[in-house]
């Protein structure tokens, strides 16, 4: 059972790290030792961490490249915020409204994940990747042209132009390319960290159960997995839908941190950004995803002193990191160092 304890120790370390980071940042905020720009980034960082961990479930654990993860974030953002706005009068408690919003966002994103998963998961490799990209763009186009209003008769929908014809006292929530405006910023850092912890809980426990084993088995060798009776479609779908649902919740959280949210925020570049977090953090490595998401969200901000050059520096850092981490000589050196460290630990355990 040594391996089990090793994974659970690692998982416990990840939870602890998140809580520790939260405690430190809360303390710093209370002491006023935190810049306002960083303070404004706390909720987006949480949202990106959830995005990265959930995408890692698809890319690292299931082993399928998704280039449209921002699409699910978008679905979650628009549906979750719509729910929260619609409930503004009936649910006075802001945290509860945020929670309902995130649940609604996750549910709709899960539904979108399921519907998209039916065609997507029949494809393989780069073809699968391009179809996720296509769905991401389609979702963006739809929300860019969707009008949703609410009045005493309930919800009204229209596409392309505002034909909702709301009754007196009605409210247009989603206004096509203008997105949703006048959002009450009820997302808090605490809520963000809680969502991160819930995400970690779901992903860690899923991976460490029969479902996770089956999903990784499919990744390692699909034909062998089928030959031992694994229901490949079911498990692929499970991973894809859970990943989409978590991204949906992240979307709601993210949107609730701004007063306006537009569909173009969740485009191909956002999907790619999250993919970069996942690859830099390491496939299947959730702690790595968290660190990469947090670090790379802060990095452009930290590079502010380079002003105009900061995105250029960001790009160079990205390329250099990929080149060095994949350099064969460096790699073997790192592996040897790792072996030396773990080897020592084994000796200690034996003693």
């Amino acid at each position: 059972m040594k391996k089990r304890t090793k994974t659970s120790r690692r998982n416990a370390f990840t939870y602890a790290l998140v809580i520790l980071a939260f405690a430190i940042l809360q303390a710093m905020t209370a002491a006023g030792a935190i810049s306002s720009s960083l303070k404004g980034m706390l909720v987006p960082i949480c949202a990106y961490v959830v995005m990265a961990v959930s995408l890692n479930l698809t890319v690292g654990i299931l082993g399928e490249l998704s280039l449209g993860h921002a699409g699910f974030m978008s679905v979650g953002a628009f549906t979750g915020v719509t729910a929260a706005v619609a409930l503004q009068a009936s649910v006075p408690s802001a945290p509860l409204r945020l929670l309902i919003g995130m649940v609604v966002g996750a549910a709709f994103a899960a539904l979108a994940g399921f519907l998209i998963g039916i065609p997507v998961l029949r494809l393989k490799g780069d073809y699968l990747a391009i179809v996720t990209l296509a769905f991401g763009e389609i979702i963006k186009s739809i929300f860019n042209n969707l009008y949703v209003g609410v009045d005493s008769h309930g919800f009204h929908f229209s596409l392309l132009s505002d034909k909702t014809n709301l009754a007196e006292g009605g409210k247009l929530i989603i206004a096509g390319p203008m997105g949703i405006g006048g959002i009450q910023k009820i997302a808090t850092f605490t809520a963000g960290v809680l969502l991160v912890l819930v995400t970690l809980f779901v992903v860690f426990n899923l991976v460490n159960s029969r479902a996770g084993r089956a999903i990784m088995a499919i990744r390692d060798n699909r034909i062998a997995a089928e030959s031992v009776g694994i229901n490949v479609t079911k498990y692929k779908m499970m991973a894809f839908v859970v990943s989409a649902a978590l991204a949906g919740a992240a979307g709601t959280l993210f949107a609730m941190n701004y007063s306006t949210i537009v569909a173009n925020k969740f485009d191909f570049n956002t999907s790619i950004l999250v993919l970069v977090f996942v690859v830099l953090g390491g496939l299947g490595n959730m702690l790595g995803s968290i660190v990469a998401a947090a670090a790379l969200t802060i990095l452009p901000e930290a590079l502010r002193q380079f002003s105009d050059y900061r995105m250029l520096v960001y790009a160079i850092v990205l390329i250099l990191v990929m080149l060095t981490t994949n350099n064969p000589t460096l790699r073997s050196y790192l592996d040897r160092a790792k072996a030396a460290v773990t080897g020592k630990r084994h000796e200690k355990e034996a003693a």
């Binding site: 391996k3 899923l206 996770g212 990784m216 390692d220 089928e226 030959s227 009776g229 490949v232």
Partner: protein, 277 residues
Amino acid sequence: MFSKLVPIPSGSMIPDRDIDKKPILECIGLGITFGGLKAVEDFNLTIGRTEIAGLIGPNGAGKTTVFNLLTKVYQPTHGTILLDGKDTHGMNTMQVNRAGIARTFQNIRLFGDLSVEDNVKVGMDAQMHYNMWSGIFRLPGFRKEEKTAHERAMELLSIFDMQHLTNAKAGSLPYGAQRRLEIVRALATNPSLLLLDEPAAGMNPSETAELMENIRKIRDTFQIAVLLIEHDMNLVMNICEGICVLNFGRVIAKGSPEDIQSNPAVIEAYLGKQKEA
């Protein structure tokens, strides 16, 4: 849920040829064509409930293709496969496995990044019942089934004395151990017919001898049928009760090891036609 292992002392149970009673597998006129090429044609084979049978033939004869047809990796274009009297027509690989056929692969196909124990547990997935939420929230169903699965995996691994390797990554095992792990993983699916594709490939004579013992032990313990593809004639002639010889996609001979060894068609297929003196 799980059938626990009930080890029967090896040797106490020497099955007679039980083909005629109620065969586990019947192939009738099985065939497949790849773009005009008849890879396997008119393949007929019957295997008894606890028989160890061999499928031999020169390279490229279509042996692995037969395995792929039986497990529906390829859908046969002709013929019928009856597993325990039931037609497997329309089933996919997963369903065939759940119906009772498990296999190993010529080019080893383990789940390389999973541990040895997890590889075996993946094989038990179809017999587990707890759902996703049970797994996420660690409900009693999860705990109970995972505990049983762990015990069963250890038992199965003990067939090949692999208990000490449980936490190793499957992909990092030596070649022989990988082949053995594939057999254990196949057994974990509770099959009634085990297909072994060149189980002794790359093994030295003493490892092969051990493997032969283990194949017999598996048959005796689980009371299942084994069909194996092998180039090691010593192994085939020693443990197979019935042998089927393929050449160019067609069956050229069938019978007991003695029959096959003296069959002129088989000798010709392996050694070529002898020149008239």
